[in-house]
């Protein structure tokens, strides 16, 4: 069936072995240089700009279809959408009324404790590009990159809560690792009582887990988890998820806690990049030290990076944070 008819079939491929060895050595060299010395940033950046048209070309039919569907949606749908959005806006405005006052108050209180809150002030919205980067890792490509000031380790939110953090920045795009990636961890706090711990991804977009809570820890199903802001990577106070199930096995020292992420990890089309306050007051020594590991390009072992500073953080107000 498959007819190869190149008559040059018997043509020599002399030096096949030699060329193969050469190319393999080149590839191995690239791997080693990229991994060990991180010298290839420029090359990678250049190549990624070359690859950008391909990515756009693949993503554009899907975006075009979305645009087409929107532009032909009926008057009734639009009307219903508008009513719904207005209702949501009204609700959001109610909630916002007290926000300014509360934020000022929080700032004052934190100043009293000589603690500088990383309050996010600048936001940029990015579109998720319709591309499967990797079937085995929970990552997405977003159409904002170094040109827009995105940096590695930056927090990314969506309308529901924390979405993930930036793992890699190219000129025009950036790769965001989701909170549900199996190699991702994020410092969180139970909103009800301030209990601090770490939420770790599972590789399943609908599930996170809290592996470092003891069986006696005060956490129940329905508890809201928010970012604690420790470790400095994420601004404090954004919802991460709600506790779905707590399994306590008396034979184990650690509880088995399942969390449902607040962000719509599998449905979001737009995400928000967050910049910490640009005019934040100078960090105190302890806090600066605490933030060290978080600013290192950390997505590979964020668990370790986030876990380390937690133990060195300010004394817990309520419960002792369970140690790893």
């Amino acid at each position: 069936m498959v007819a190869f008819r190149n008559t040059d079939a018997s043509g020599r491929t002399s030096g096949l072995l030699l060329r193969c060895v050469l190319y393999c050595l080149l590839a191995l060299g690239l791997i080693i240089f990229d991994k060990r010395y991180d010298h290839l940033g420029q090359i990678r950046r250049f190549l990624s700009v070359v690859a950008y048209p391909v990515q756009v070309a693949v993503a554009s039919p899907f975006e075009g279809w979305d645009w087409f569907r929107q532009s032909v949606s009926s008057r009734e749908t639009l009307r219903a959408d508008k009513a719904k959005l207005e209702a949501e806006l009204r609700l959001a405005n109610f909630r916002l009324q007290r926000y300014e006052a509360l934020e000022a108050e929080t700032q004052r209180l934190r100043a009293l404790r000589a603690n500088t809150a990383e309050v996010a002030t600048r936001f940029v919205v990015g579109d998720i590009m319709d591309l499967d980067i990797d079937a085995f890792r929970e990552r997405v490509l977003v159409d904002k990159g170094a040109r827009d000031g995105v940096f590695v380790g930056q927090a990314v939110l969506d309308a529901g809560g924390v979405f993930g953090q930036v793992a890699r920045v190219e000129q025009l795009t950036s790769e965001v690792i989701l909170v549900s990636d199996a190699s991702h961890a994020i410092p969180v706090q139970v909103n009800r009582n301030g209990l601090r711990t770490i939420a770790v991804g599972t590789g399943d977009m609908s599930r996170l887990k809290l592996p470092y809570l003891s069986t006696s820890a005060d956490v129940v199903a329905g508890d809201l988890l928010v970012t604690s802001g420790l470790g400095g990577g994420f601004p404090a106070g954004y919802p991460v998820g709600t506790v779905a199930e707590v399994k306590r096995d008396p034979a184990q020292s650690l509880a088995d806690v399942e969390v449902r992420p607040a962000a719509a990890l599998d449905r979001s089309r737009e995400v928000m990049f967050v910049w910490p306050k640009p005019d934040a007051p100078p960090q105190s020594g302890a806090l600066a030290a605490e933030q060290g590991p978080a600013h290192a390009p950390s997505p590979a072992p964020p668990g370790a990076a986030a876990a380390a500073p937690q133990t060195a953080a300010v004394p817990p107000p309520h419960h002792g944070a369970p140690k790893k």
């Binding site: 069936m1 190869f4 096949l16 193969c20 190319y23 393999c24 590839a27 191995l28 391909v54 499967d132």
Partner: protein
């Protein structure tokens, strides 16, 4: 040749529903194999290396990973090409399966060596679907090549 590689590259990143995603054959790898067998002197290893590099950049993995795997396997395919031409469809598919598995194995090994292993079983599904789709893809390519 370049056009088929570009199309295959696009197919490699087109979004699919997560349930089907693990079954996605490595289109670009198959296309590179085809050209390694059909006209190794025109494309061959240079094409394999370039295609691998493109995959590395798009997937955002360590630079050189796919390039290494693809170069090795394309060289092997070139080495086997005279035999492959006279093989029946079934034997061809089986050989391609072996090549694809070797490709995945090199990727797996580099993943492990650079410290972020992906140990899910599903990564070994792609060679199976790749081998199944090979007769169609090679047939289509050779028909296009005729014109």
């Amino acid at each position: 040749m370049a056009l088929s590689a570009l199309v295959a590259l696009a197919l490699a990143v087109v979004p699919l529903p997560p349930a089907v995603d693990a079954f996605r054959p490595d289109f670009l790898v198959l296309v590179v194999f085809y050209w390694s067998i059909e006209s190794p002197r025109a494309g061959g290893l240079a094409l394999a290396f370039a295609a691998g590099l493109a995959l590395d950049v798009i997937r955002g993995v360590v630079l050189g990973q796919h390039a290494l795997a693809l170069t090795l396997m394309a060289a092997w395919a070139t080495h086997l090409r005279l035999r492959l031409r006279v093989f029946s469809v079934l034997s061809q598919s089986l050989t391609i399966f072996a090549l694809l598995t070797g490709y995945q194995f090199v990727l797996f090994w580099v993943d492990g060596a650079t410290g972020n292993p992906v140990t899910t079983f599903s990564r070994w599904l792609a060679p199976v679907t790749g081998a199944l789709i090979w007769p169609l893809l090679a047939g289509g390519l050779s028909r296009l090549h005729d014109r």
